[in-house]
Symmetry: C2
Subunit: 327 residues, 2 copies
DNA sequence: CGTCCGACTGTAACCGATTACATCCTTGGA
DNA sequence: TCCAAGGATGTAATCGGTTACAGTCGGACG
């Protein structure tokens, strides 16, 4: 910048004013600065500016993983919302727990104005203890007192799905659960168990198999379920990826879906509509979560004193063909 | 930091040395600094450090879009590789062309050590003209003289797929092309046309339909192809997402895949293995591309003087069930 | 003609760290 | 006892910008 100023025969202040747009700059100086900058290939250093003005126009996103359509969609939603507000995204994927999360957050201090954190496996106290002070944080997919949060009503949605299946006449409904370290997975499992109990359905521990949210694990879990002596008439997978793996397992076993066995997922990722049969699922408003998270963190940046109430978005049952019962 | 120094009764230099690990610090000072930092909730400001040492430990990633499994996988690959080298990722999705790309790149100046850019629609001269000087850049998926680049051999891979289909006896092979603004899409189209010509297959302009890489467009394009009086016996989609859309369209039309019509994709995204029938596709080593891109940009950061040669990774034909001919 | 005002510009302090250099204090060896 | 070596620490310049403040200048107005 000093180089540009010297070449243009002005002071650094004028160059700065030229770029920031604030403060008056004569047309004469304007063209000379522009000329000098072009000649030198000068571009203002964003990081230095951020240091001085204490705003980075960047939001940090910390995710537990990046695998699969869910995170892809989430990131897309976040990016879209951030772009709408002229913010950038500093992304860190696959933190392995509280320590890594804290370290990542500290790394981001000074580079971001606020943090959007998804830590599905962590208790709230952990989140609270490890985050650097003074950095506005919004929790995604989990709740903790003292932090604004955006999450989905796993309980109600999963329960609705089980009721839907029961309504279609299924009594032996299996669950392919998510990893037990994951809060969402636990919520969905709890809702399943509760609803199965409430409705007086067949409650059999062997009908619940734990997966890890990947297609592969859904496939394996389904093979296990199909091998049962008294096999389920419906399978509810705790996310769509596992449901897609389950679909393949059913096909391989020569079973017609939904004729021989019903199949349901959770998340309603884009491809759910395009597999055959179309996957009945719980629509999670991923984009909206992203947009809300961005809004919430920006609000927290503007006024750190108020802590917004947790937002719990409802899921929506999307009935396609994989369970029968579609129009 | 001055606060911590004051509270600990030491100078800022000592505090800095404590955190950087370089330089000697007495045990006494060490514990006092730690104490003060804890009490004040102090965490060193990464941005300020970066400004001083002129290294950010961050790589910028500029993508044209974030939609779909391909980018999801790519990002995952990049993140994994970056994490391996203790680097962070500053991600910008959906740049709308040369101008936005240049602006994004400038925004990143000072926040990143290097840039990984994917600009499938841009001519090389554009890329060269708009990027800020002094920032190491690696091109992903496209090539330009003067820049290191990592890309896939679209031509050879697409040609191999057409030959594969021809080998299975197909003479009327349709192509669902990608958007004509996309260099990869054009390469695949060119390879298709050339190979169809070379093999003396039925070359009919109505057998080529342009899509936009989404499931939806693949579905639409396939509906159009199936409505032809003399419809194709095989459909080659320029990416897997469109192939999945095509699969659904075939199902809806009551056609058996591969019995009535063969279907092939490109990219070999994870879900390709899990749709039914398994999608014959061209495996693109997405993770490896990410890893190589990270290595290349780090190499460029270390020694900006050498420009690495372009790397063209081969695609690999993955034969599953969607075209028949599988084992 | 003197004064005031506003447009324009420059100087220098500051954001929060790093680090070269100087200083001070031990300690070991001659 | 004196000196050199080296550990521990502080001072101040620096990274690349922003911006408060002060100063210059030309024109309008009384």
């Amino acid at each position: 910048m000093r180089g540009v100023a010297a070449r243009a025969g002005v002071s650094v202040a004028t160059v700065s004013r030229f770029y920031s747009g604030a403060g008056p700059v004569s047309d004469d100086a304007r063209v000379r600065v522009k000329e000098a900058a072009d000649a030198l290939g000068y571009v203002p250093n964003t990081a230095a500016r951020s240091l001085r003005v204490q705003r980075t126009a960047t939001l940090g996103v910390v995710l537990p993983d990046l695998y699969g359509d869910f995170f892809s969609e989430l990131l897309r939603g976040l990016d879209g919302a951030a772009r709408l507000h002229d913010r950038h995204l500093l992304v860190a994927g696959s933190h392995g727990g509280a320590d890594e999360l804290a370290e990542t957050a500290c790394q981001m201090l000074g580079r971001v104005d606020g943090l959007i954190v998804m830590c599905p496996g962590l208790g709230e106290e952990v989140a609270e203890a490890n985050l650097p002070v003074g950095l506005p944080v919004v929790l995604l997919g989990s709740m903790a007192t003292g932090f604004p949060s955006i999450s989905v009503d796993d309980e109600a949605s999963a329960a609705a799905m089980v009721r839907h299946l029961a309504h279609l006449g299924h009594r032996r409904i299996a669950l392919i659960a998510g990893p037990s370290a994951n809060a969402d997975a636990l919520d969905r499992l709890a809702a399943y168990e509760r609803t199965v109990g409430d409705l007086g359905l067949h409650a059999d521990p062997s009908l619940v198999v734990e997966g890890d949210f990947t297609e592969r694990s859904g496939h394996q879990a389904t093979c296990q379920l199909l091998a049962l002596a008294d096999r389920p008439t419906a399978v509810f997978a705790a996310n769509d990826s596992m449901a897609i793996g389950a679909l393949r397992a059913c096909r391989e076993a020569g079973l017609d879906v939904p004729g021989d066995i019903a199949l349901a997922g959770f998340d309603d990722i884009p491809v759910a509509e395009y597999v055959t049969p179309g996957l009945t699922s719980v629509h999670v408003p991923i984009h909206e979560m992203g947009a809300r998270a961005v809004s919430a963190v920006l609000a927290a940046v503007d006024d750190p004193s108020v802590v917004a109430d947790p937002v719990v978005l409802p899921g929506r049952l999307v009935v396609r063909q994989s369970c029968g019962g579609a129009a």
